[in-house]
Structures are given as C-alpha cells and as structure tokens.
Subunit: 623 residues, 2 copies
C-alpha cells in the first residue's frame, strides 16, 4: 500500500459482475458489496432456513477463486433483529447470518469482512468472537462506524424519538463497547464513515488515530459541487481525509450514489489529488516495532551502521557543533600553533571522523583525532578508510572499549553519538562518565546534555503488535512479558492523550561527586477525552553544543532527522479513561554493576504493577 489504495462501495449489487468490472476499470483495488440477496433474507425470516439454502445467492462461479480472494470485499449487514425480543425471530436471523457467513467463507476463506452493525455492541462482539474462533488468522473483521452520528436522519424513521432530542451520540462509545466486549481482539478493525456534519470536538476525530482504522469510507453526499460542476469537499473535510491518509495505512472507500453515479471517476480523482500533497516517503516503515539495540552488549552490523549514516540531518548538526566548539576554543591568533585534540568515542564506520575533519577544514583549525571503537568489524572499515581517504590526517585509532583506554594527552573535545530514543537508554551517561577523565578541565563534551520525555498514548495497533511478540524466542527477545519492555516504535497510528512532560536530564561532563545515574520522577497528566491508556511514548532531546540541539520530541523534532524511532513503554493492562481523569505515573532509572533498567508504574486512575521490576524483563547490559 505505498500508493493509496481505493475500494468502490456499492451496497447492493444486483449485478455484482459489472460492478466489479466498474471498480477495476476505474483502478479501484476491489469492490465492497453485499454478497447475499437481501430479498431472500427477508423471506427467510418466515420460512424454514434449511429448505431454502439452495438458492440464497447468485452463482459464485461468476468469479474465479482469485477474484473472490483479492477483489471482492464482502459486506454483512447485522441488524437489530439479532436483538429481537422474540427468540424465534432471533434464532432464525442468526441462522441466516450463519449461512451468509459460511457461504462467504466458502468463496473467500480469508481477507477482510466488512460488518455493518445496528444491534447491541455485545451482540456484535459475540457474533464476531464466535466466527473468529472458527476461522484462520488471515481473516479480519472490519466494523463500520460513522465519524459523526446522524441522529436527525435516524429520527426520520424512528418515530418514537422526540424530534427535539439534542444529544449527539459519540460513535466511538459504540465502537469501544463492541471492541471491549470482544476483548480488543486484534482481528477486529474499524471502517470510519465520513459525514457531511463533523463532530464539534476535534479530539473525537483525533482519537480514531489510536484505533485500528483500516478503511475510511467517503460517501457521495460528503461532496458538494463546485462552479465547474466537479465534486469537491470543504476545507475541514479535506483536512480530515488527508490526516487519515497521512497517519494510517488504510483503504479509501468511495461510496457513490449507485453504480450509475457518473461522478465515480471524479470522486476518485479528487481524493487522489488530495493524497498527492502528502509525504509518503516513510510509508513502508510505518507501524514498525523493534526491540531496542544494546550496542554495549552486541556489535552492530554493517547495514545498521549504513542506515544510521544515511541520516541527512544528524551529522550536519554534529559538524556545526564541532565547528562552533573549535571557534570558541582556538582564537584566530592561535590557529597555526594550537591543535585541538578531539576524542571521538564510538567511531563506528567513521561518520563523526568525517564531521570533525569537515569542521576543521571549514574553520581552518588544526585537529588531532583519536577515534575509539570497540567493534573489531568496524575497525576493519576504519583502518581502510584512514589508509585510503585520510592518509595525511592525524588520526589515531584505538580498538578498545572507551571505558578502558589510556591517553598520553587529555582531549579538548569529547565527541560521541551514544544517545538512544529515550536519551540515556543506550547508556550514554555510563559510557561518558567512564571516559570523561580523559577530557581537559577546560574541555567540552558534544553532546553537552540529554533529556527524556514521556507522553500518555492510546494506540491499539501498536499495543496489539506488542502482544503478538509474546512467545517470540529470538536471542534478544526471550521474554514473554512483552508489555514490560521499552520497545522502539515508528507509528502514527497513535492518539496523544495529553501533552508530553520532561523526565530525566543528564549533563556532560558530569562534575557530581559521587556520580549517581539513577533517577526517579512522578508525573501527572489529564485525559482530554474518553479513551484508553495503552502506555507512554518516550522521546529525547539533546544540546550538542550551546544553541545546537537535536530532538525527536513531537513539537520540536529536528527536521529531516530519521535515526530515531520513539520509545513505547506499554502498561500490562490498558486502562479505560474518562474525560478529565487524572493520570499519575512514576518512572525510575535504576543501575547496578551489571545493568541499567527502567521501571514504570501507573498510580491513577488505576494502579498497575511495577513494570520491569529489578530489570528482570528488560535489562540494558553494561557490557
């Protein structure tokens, strides 16, 4: 889905064949439609189901198996007859639905099944769980939910409702009740139907970004007609559609008035036009969940270095920081006589050597570089680079752990890139503490500090991915307590429940005596709307030198810097939040002689366990 995918929705298909052709000719990926005739079903309610089973739909042979599998997206209506007070009616309708389901499952045993419910949430959940039990993991149910409830429309046929009733239903409540009753099953996702009216509270829209939304349905009546007689949307609606396309991997479902709506192509072109203004460059990586690197424990491999070096922003900022430090340190008068000793710890395949050499050239200052690297495989590369590219530069290579080296002369500048997504989570403080005695008293460290941040989030998809990792038994992922690991995530399928808050700070060089790198904090947030707390996003920012900063905090993210995902601290059991609920959470950074680890615990509105107690689940090893 790197290009936006589209589906055509035509509820009733008297001629499903020509409708599929219509959709494919117009470059839709497929047709979303009911398979079983409604007329037949209505009759059935009065008759015996078993005897009529032989002709309840059109022949499935109109399509090849592959058409069914890949181009047809079946829709199942699940009306409130399922809640009928008559057990006879209820049973008969359930039999009908079962038959419809079995037939669809026969022609299309996997893929997406689109469910349009108008019955009680518990009834929907029960039905879906029953079917999930009987089918394979590659069958996903999509529940249709309107972005905004159209009460007025409902009133047109519900004569029992008073016409002055004003309370607008929050449709998320209905969805959440279904999903909760189905134990948030990961094989149940959502289709959001755009409406011409929009919720007055924008958070009601943003909250969907925390849900597993897989389709955005755009009905014909959300379009108006412009002066050139083309279908267009309001600014606000355009924005919403773009946000959905930008943040979520989903199908855009176009719902024309009927199959003879002559504007089908125009709807599609309009949305395609909207999608063109979006940045889809990192689409492929989206919804990525990774176990954090442990660079002190493992040696990074060649391609990991390559990916890091590809960052277009990071090394330019490092270079600028080194330039400024050189300028401050060596005056114009001294520049022929003085040479700055740059101690570069964690040289990898040499990007910071390059930044330092560039900085020296640009500022016309002399430098001697001492490059330290513990990975013997990276040393091979560095040796070749120095021999081939920089034979005339003063570069000394030390193939050791930075915490064990000895220098004849102390350094003027200590340069490192040891920061993780949560700042100190790759043990930058411990490493720099171990080497800072080699820095002159007047020396500077680049970076000069690091800060971490957390933010409460709702993210069912990421949380679901975390749960799926359970039982994985790769080398570094031996823990089944998957919800007590601070994962790395790259996802925009997230709703931010409140603003972020600063957590821990580390300053380099660290002049404390004794040095204590353990930390603790208690943080408070407030829920802006009814939603679910799945855990906390973690970010970092760092001052490299004076005003030169790098950051992955949402508000101030360094432009173009791609090296870091966010951190995700899940909680063992998601918490249902009411609007205005106060969230209190405690975070610890703990250390012993072998490892460093984080612990976290929510105190309010509900108390959780202490996650990663004693670092038993997710230790960060010191060696």
């Amino acid at each position: 889905m790197s290009r936006q995918s589209f589906l055509l929705k035509i509820d009733k298909s008297p001629d499903i064949q020509s409708n599929l052709q219509l959709s494919l000719q117009n470059k839709f990926s497929g047709l979303l439609t009911t398979i079983v005739d409604d007329g037949y079903k209505r009759i059935l309610l009065d008759e015996k189901v078993a005897e009529r089973q032989q002709c309840f739909t059109r022949s499935p042979l109109i399509f090849k198996a592959n058409d069914w599998l890949y181009s047809i997206f079946p829709m199942i209506n699940m009306t409130n007859i399922l809640d009928s007070s008559s057990s006879e009616v209820r049973k008969n309708y359930k039999l009908l639905l079962d038959q419809e389901f079995n037939f669809i499952n026969h022609v299309k045993p996997r893929g997406y099944y689109y469910i349009r419910p108008t019955c009680e949430p518990e009834t929907v959940a029960k039905f879906l769980l029953e079917k999930i039990e009987k089918t394979g993991n590659d069958l996903i149910f999509i529940v249709e939910i309107e972005l905004h409830s159209q009460k007025n429309y409902t009133r047109m046929y519900r004569r029992d409702l008073s016409p002055i009733e004003e309370d607008i239903e929050d449709t998320w409540m209905y969805w959440n009740a279904i999903h909760k009753a189905a134990n948030y099953h990961q094989r149940i996702e959502v289709a959001i139907v755009l409406s011409s009216d929009l919720p007055s509270n924008e958070l009601e829209i943003y909250r969907w970004f925390g849900e597993p939304v897989i389709m955005l349905v755009i009905p014909h009546n959300t379009f108006t007609t412009n002066s050139s007689n083309f279908p267009v949307m309001t600014k606000k609606q355009q924005e919403i559609v773009k946000m959905f396309m930008q943040n979520l991997k989903l199908y855009i479902v176009i719902e024309p008035k009927s199959s003879s709506d002559h504007r089908i192509k125009s709807y599609l072109e309009y949305i395609e036009y909207l999608s063109k203004s979006l940045d889809r460059s990192s689409e492929e990586e989206k919804d990525c969940l990774k176990y954090p690197l442990q660079p002190l424990h493992d040696n990074l491999d060649f391609s990991t270095y390559e990916v890091f070096e590809r960052d277009p922003a990071k090394y330019i900022l490092y270079q600028r920081a080194i330039e400024n430090a050189l300028k401050d340190m060596i005056s114009e008068e001294e520049k022929e006589t003085r040479k700055a000793i740059v101690l570069l710890v964690g040289a990898g395949r040499g990007p910071l050597i390059r930044s330092t050499l560039n900085a020296a050239t640009n500022t016309h200052k002399k430098v001697k570089i001492i490059a330290v690297e513990k990975n013997p495989n990276a040393i091979v590369t560095l040796t070749c680079l120095i021999k081939q590219l920089w034979p005339d530069k003063e570069i000394e290579l030390i193939a050791k752990d930075m915490r064990n080296i000895v220098l004849e002369e102390k350094a003027d500048i200590l340069v490192s890139e040891l920061l993780g997504s949560f700042g100190d989570n790759e043990l930058s403080p411990e490493c720099l503490d171990g080497v800072q005695h080699l820095l002159k008293p007047t020396g500077v460290s680049i970076p000069a500090n690091s800060k971490s941040y957390i933010q409460p989030i709702m993210t069912k998809r990421t949380y679901g991915q975390v749960q799926k990792r359970k039982g994985e038994n790769k080398k570094r992922e031996m823990h089944s307590e998957h919800t007590e690991v601070n994962w790395l995530i790259y996802s925009t399928n997230i709703f931010h429940i409140d603003n972020f808050k600063e957590v821990f700070t580390f300053v380099h060089p660290n002049n404390d005596n004794p040095i204590d790198n353990s930390r603790y904090g208690k943080f408070h947030f407030e829920s802006s709307i009814d939603c679910i707390l799945h855990g906390f996003s973690g970010y970092f920012s760092s001052k490299l030198y004076k005003d030169i900063e790098i950051s992955i905090v949402p508000d101030s993210h360094t432009k173009g810097m791609i090296s870091w995902y966010s951190v995700f601290f899940p909680i063992a059991t998601p918490i249902q939040l009411k609007k205005g609920d106060k969230i209190e959470v405690e975070f610890w950074r703990k250390c012993n002689t072998e490892k460093v680890w984080y612990e976290w615990k929510v105190n309010a509105p509900e108390e959780t366990i202490v996650h990663n107690l004693n670092g038993e689940i997710h230790p960060i090893f010191l060696a």
Copy 2:
C-alpha cells in the same frame, strides 16, 4: 527462482568490485568468492592474531549493505590445518577462521555461506554447529562436495600416495559423515561440483536428489570446445546438468578459469540453452508439503474445488469411462427407450455432471443424473448451474451425505471421485460401501477399483520440512508427532531407494459379506546403494472402467494429471542403509466406528516404532 538462477564463482578476487560488476553485467545473480585475503591468513599463522586484526581484508565500504546481502556469496576455505597435530597451529587457525567468519557475518548477517572443507568431517560439523548456534535461521551453510573425487589430481601434490592406488572415493560418504556429525542440521546444504570424469555407478549421481543440494557448480574444465570454437558438454554431462535443473531448485554456479576467461558469457548461454528444454511449469509448487484433506470432516472451499476442476486429464478420462459404460449398457436399439440412471456422489461444483452430460451427448444415450453433495456451499453453486446452464437436463440434486440417502429407483452407474493420493485415504471404500445398495445388481461403479503403492525413499529436504512442522498449531495440524502423519508432498528432491510395490486393493461395488475394509501387508525392498531411509512414498492407481485407468505411480503416471501429490509416510528416526541392506516394512489400514487410519513399522534393517498407533496422531474421520 522460476527462471534458472546463476552465480559466478571466482575463488580469489583481488578486485572483488570489478568481479561483481562482471557477474551482474552478465546477468548472474551474484558473485561467489572469498572475502578475506589468503595471503594475510598465511602470514597470520606465524603471528599474533589480535594485533593484526585491523587490516585483514579490503574495505567493506566498497559495497552497500544490500550488495553484501544479496549479490555477494562468501566462500570460506576450511583446510586440514584445522586437524593439525600441533595444538598451537590448530588454535591459531581456528582463531583466523573465527575472525573471517565474524567479519563476513558483520557485512552479511544472513544468506548463504559457501564452505570448502578439506579437513575431517567431524571438524567441519563441529565448526558449523558452533556458528549455527550463534546466528539466525536465515543463515545457511553450503558445503562444497565434488560429484566425483579426482584422486589423480590429489596425487600430484600428495607425494605420499602411491601412484597406483585405484580406489575411487565415494564423495557422498564424506558429505554424509559431515551431515551426520552435524545431526543433519537443516541449515547445512550442499553444493555439488560437476567434474569431467563421472562416477561409473549412476546411482551415485541420482542419490544426490535425496540431498538438500542448493548449488551445482560447473567448472570451466567440464566444457570442451566444438568445431565452431564454442564451449560444449558431453551428452552425459548435459543430461546430468538438466536432471539437476529439472529436479532441484538450485543455483547454477559457473566457474571460469579466471575473471579474464573470455568464455564466461558462452558458458552461461550454453547452460541457459540446456535449461530451455526443461518443463518448469510447476516450479513454484515444488517442495510443497501439505496436511491431507479430510473431505468427510471438513467442507472443501471454493478455491480447492477450482484447483481440482482445472485438471486437464482427469475429467476427460472420467467422461470416456462413462461413455464406454453407457455404450456397454444401452444398445443402439434401446437408446430411445432406455435411460441410464447415473448416481453421482460427491458432485462438488459439478465437473462430473459436465462429464456425464458430455458422455450422454457423445454416445446419444439418455441419462438421468442424481447428484449428491453434502457441502451446502457447493450446493449453492450446483443449484445455480442447473438453473442457468442445464435447465432442460434431467438432474436431481440431493443435499445430503451420500451414506444417508434414499432413492425411488436404483442406479445403473455410480460415479464418484473420492480417491486420495493413497487411493483409499480419503475413505472412498467406506463412502462407496455406504451407497452401493442403491446400485442395481447389474450396475457398475466408476471407479471400479483402487490400488495403493509404496516405495522407500531418501529425501532430506522433505524430511526436514516435516520436522519444521512440529509445533505448528493450526486446526487440523495439532499434532507434534509430525513424523507419524501421512503427508502430501510435491517434490522431486527425492532418491528412490528401490522400486515401488503394490500395497492394498479395493474393488467397487464390494460384494464381500461382511465387508471388511481393514488391510495388512508386509513388504520387502533392497537398498541399491549406501544411503538413508527417511520413509516411504505412497501412490495410487485406479481402474475407472475396463481399460481406462488413472495413476500417479511414477512409471505409469497419467499424462498431464495434476490433481494429486504423492503421500509421504515418514519414519520417526531415519535409518542409515548399506548397499544390499534388506528393508522390511509392515503397513496396516485400520478402522473403527469413528475413524480410519494407517499404521506403519519398519522391521529391518532396524526396527522402528509402530507409527500412528491406534490412529492417535493422524486419524481420518468418518464424519
């Protein structure tokens, strides 16, 4: 790999960059070469390893990570220095190899590693197992083995060998010793090097088809030059290369004299030309392992029916059988007055209705078809077909299990297609016994019989796949005793140890009283060469009517018939066989009121367990 894939092999690459370019320009998939300089390694034997580690190869930065991952196939020489009597030399060489390995693993953490050993089999196995332990499942080791040992060449530098020594080494023994010592690890595969001399015993070639061969290396000296000055092969060598390409999914590795061998393109074109005459139509499906269908227990889905109906041979033979039966049954005089009642059990989506209607039309006989089908989803299709395609034909549809139907008038012809790959393994006998009382005493059954066959085989790859299925927990595959299931396989990566033997026969209608569908037999085979017994292939043949037969037995496989894979009855522990070893195996077909099952047990040359005892592992359910 649906088109044949080629690699270029250049052992020593002083200029690895231009060699890679050479290979890609000539449309090879990649370059097979050593990464670490041999010269460096020789020096190292006398020096301290640690101090020189900084420059033991060329810079890895000459390639991007993706080149390393996808285009470079590293080769590691593992000489008999590893078996040196001096523990100092041994240790030093091991350190060197470790360093070489670690560096390769740094630039290319997964993919194929080509190992060229000249040391003791146990030494090779130990080294590989040690590395397997430390790396991921996506790293595969390939051990280079010569198809035919070139003793004479060896003698050129081994002055200690008497020049008259005649015994030619069987290279499979060396490989088998390595693989056995490595416990047949599935991450160890083979590269076979073609030679100008060939083994005199052809079985020594065929036996490799039971091994996980992933590369066939063709050195330049296997080519001769024809009158037009083009490289060509002998007829026999052509045959061997073709057999390898036809039967195995592998890389063809071209090994020129050197990178300046001007015939590189000609070698490639020659082999490509050979590959063009091969049938690669079913390439994608190859090496496929499936859990057998249980059509009595589960309803088949739409696409399964579609695949079966696509068979170009089966339904034509059924049609011909029905034609012949109609001709024998109804004389020309009767053809206006008499109508044959054809009872069609298991009608599916109607292919046999079509065959019957065609047969009636072709023979100008009248038929009434009674089509029985228990799958309600297939009934939907049949109903539509009858309504739309055959409204004027006499077709009665009965939506029931064939064992429970009642007819007003008995049938003349009973037609069914209930045979599995082992004939009776989808319970064709039980089903037909249950319906044959509806056949007139003069009536015939199509098919008239079924026979099963077994054949002892060596097939490491398939056996490995069976082992991988362990722990899978899909609905129908809940058993961990994966070696006690009679799997369906489609593979040509198999060596047939001896000819097949007939096992069980069933005749329809069955006039025995009482009917007993249990069976037992004891069968004897002989090993034609040293090899390994992994289990037994199973096949079937069936007489449809008089001389019209269908068969999947290798010698008499019905041309173009694609509906059936073979069966694979694995044994719990593979047995090493010596040439001439007698194999005795017992097979049981057992039945009770709920299920049918097979048991099998090898008695000689070694005794195994009774596989699938009491049908607890792999029952075939009667309902």
